[in-house]
């Protein structure tokens, strides 16, 4: 009876060995065997055969560019259309739900509008399920476990060393290798662009936020000092061990409320120019990666050099957005690990500093626009934390201004001239 058990144990050991040699070790040295590249190509080929997606059409853009500058009765239809569109779907709610795809990528989780289409498609989907849950998921979970335990072990060991450049170098190595393993554990293919703009020591790195995995994505290419709340449980243990080897900025929950304390700690970190760049997500919440919400200005008051980074996930391979109201962390990670892959583009933007006479809010929105433009995301003026609140009249005035500029553009004739004598009062 022990034969099947020992056989299973042997198979498991062999599998583990393969995993370590072909995935973990290359990951640690930053070497790629090219397997994931091939995998992505294959996936793209398969998924393109699916339903023909609706081609995005060039949007009409703001109406003000298109109008010849005259009023027409049908102008009301434009506002009517906009109004009805917002009844069916409004911009703020939309930011917090997952992006929809033009064609189905064989994941039921993204299947919101596609009904049963054909038997062939269902078979493909079943195959996909088998591959993802039977093969990919265990592999990725194993990698994640290895990666995280390596992080904790490595940082604790490094933490025992005295402060020196060797310690810093070792800690960077540990962090990098661990994040690389974790990235493999998510089948993340990351394309970095403009590496010459990579954040330098003593700067602040600012990025748009879609998921907690953003941290892994960015940390694959450099070491950052993380900022955040100390959590309980496993996350807390990881955080505490990380801080032993290099200075991250973890706050107690009570400290987070005190904006002044937060800013002064950040400032202290930044002014020591030898410390690692701080990583901050100014949106304050996870957004669904089609748009960028308003940046909170706290981090822009610190007066360091801001290095903006734009992160854009490719939605064809898996939906990376963490809808924290719908899923908790563990189920989210399981979803991530059972997607096809995560393909992400990271653009490093040139550093920006606050200009004379500019206030923090304006600087924040300037950085935000740069990030949105680079990542191909919509630049929205909404505040992520805003749920209720009176709509100020100034918004409606904006609408009126925009519309009037189209109607009055070519100059409605001043009263007293033209073919239509103005009405007598």
């Amino acid at each position: 009876m022990s034969d099947p058990v020992s056989a299973a144990a042997a198979v498991f050991q062999l599998w583990l060995l393969i995993v370590v040699f072909f995935i973990v070790l290359p990951a640690m040295f930053g070497v790629s065997l090219g397997v994931s590249g091939v995998y992505i190509q294959v996936l793209v080929r398969i998924l393109q055969v699916r339903l023909p997606g609706q081609k995005p059409s060039p949007s009409a853009g703001q109406r003000s560019h298109d109008r010849a500058g005259e009023f027409s009765l049908s102008d009301a239809i434009y506002f009517c259309q906009k109004g009805l569109e917002s009844i069916v779907e409004d911009q703020v709610t939309q930011c917090f739900s997952s992006e929809e795809l033009a064609s189905w990528n064989l994941l039921t989780r993204t299947n919101q509008n596609f009904q049963y289409i054909s038997l062939r498609l269902t078979i493909f989907w079943l195959l996909g399920v088998f591959v993802r849950y039977g093969f990919l998921l265990p592999l990725r979970v194993a990698l994640a476990v290895i990666g995280l335990s390596w992080l904790m072990l490595g940082t604790t060991v490094v933490g025992f060393l005295p402060e020196s450049s060797v310690k810093n170098w070792l800690s960077e190595l540990v962090h990098l290798t661990c994040y690389r393993i974790c990235a493999r554990g998510l089948s993340a293919t990351i394309h970095y662009h403009n590496k010459e703009n990579r954040p330098q020591k003593g700067g602040i790195c600012v990025a748009n936020h879609t998921t907690p995995i953003d941290v892994v994505i960015l940390a694959n290419d450099g070491c950052y000092a993380m900022v955040g709340q100390i959590h309980r449980g496993l996350m807390g243990v990881i955080q505490r061990s990380m801080v032993r080897s290099c200075p991250h900025i973890w706050f107690e929950r009570s400290e987070m409320k005190d904006r002044h304390a937060v800013t002064s700690r950040l400032r202290a970190h930044v002014s020591a120019r030898t410390k690692l760049p701080i990583l901050i997500f100014p949106e304050g919440t996870c957004v669904n990666n089609t748009s960028v919400l308003m940046f909170k200005k706290g981090s822009f008051e610190v007066r360091g050099t801001i290095h903006p980074v734009a992160i854009k996930y490719d939605p064809r391979f898996g939906d990376a957005f963490w809808n924290s109201t719908k899923y908790n962390m563990v189920s989210y990670l399981l979803r991530m690990m059972s997607s096809w892959a995560i393909v992400v583009n990271v653009w490093y933007l040139p550093p920006m500093t606050i200009q004379a006479g500019e206030d923090a809010a304006h600087f924040a929105s300037r950085v935000k626009s740069a990030i949105a433009r680079r990542g191909g995301l919509l630049d929205l003026a909404w505040d992520g934390g805003l749920k209720r609140g009176k709509v100020k009249d100034c918004f409606r005035e904006e609408q009126q201004k925009l519309y009037s500029s189209t109607v009055v553009q070519n100059g409605i004739e001043p009263p007293g001239s033209s073919r239509n004598p103005p009405e007598e009062e």
């Binding site: 009765l73 102008d75 009844i87 918004f395 005035e397 609408q399 409605i412 009263p415």
Partner: protein, 191 residues
């Protein structure tokens, strides 16, 4: 006929707007939509959903009104029936017509037109400019010379569109329903 998927989507939206779970919507529920309150004629649009004296909107009525603007283009091959498309276009225009014609007398008077113009332009233009715009619009549209615009005359009004808008004409409102990505929303066409 609205497809099942769209009905489902609309029902989700209806439930979302119905924050108190009453099973029907009231004007206040529409006023929660920020973009609608920013819209210069938002108040009129909301009023269009509620006939006079009725303060409740149930789901079938909600769908019926929005169905005027439902996607047509998706099943082009099946939907060759002209009357189908014409009805929908008429429905859209009727909805827009009633935004102007608040007293429901079947005609848009100069005064009604002026009110809409005031809403859309606010304080950005002077009263004289408003009147001259209204005057010109009425004169251009008024065929039978009665000084007001009837629904038939309204239907005949040509949109002034430069070439640049042509590609967007192909897509229509259906994209809001079918695909949630924002930027598709900013197209407009009524066929």
């Amino acid at each position: 006929p609205v497809s099942a998927a769209h009905l489902l989507r609309l029902h989700e939206r209806f439930d979302f707007l119905d924050k108190d779970g009453r099973g029907h919507l009231r004007p206040e529920d529409f006023e929660e939509i920020r973009e609608l309150t920013e819209n210069p004629i938002g108040g009129r649009i909301i009023a269009a959903f509620f006939p006079p004296e009725k303060e409740r909107l149930d789901f079938p009525s909600f769908v019926r009104i929005l169905a005027h603007f439902r996607p047509i283009g998706k099943n082009r091959s099946r939907d060759r029936a002209q009357p189908e498309q014409a009805n929908s276009r008429t429905g859209k225009l009727k909805f827009a017509f009633e935004l102007y014609d608040q007293d429901r007398d079947g005609k848009i008077s100069r005064e009604e037109l002026l009110q809409v113009l005031r809403a859309m332009l606010g304080l950005q233009v002077t009263e004289e400019q408003l009147r001259s715009i209204a005057e010109r619009a009425v004169q251009e549209a008024d065929i039978d010379g009665d000084g007001a615009i009837s629904f038939d005359e309204f239907k005949k009004v040509k949109k002034k569109e430069p070439q640049g808008l042509k590609p967007a004409e192909k897509t229509n409102f259906c994209h809001v329903w079918f695909l949630r990505s924002h930027w598709r929303k900013w197209t407009w066409s009524t066929r």
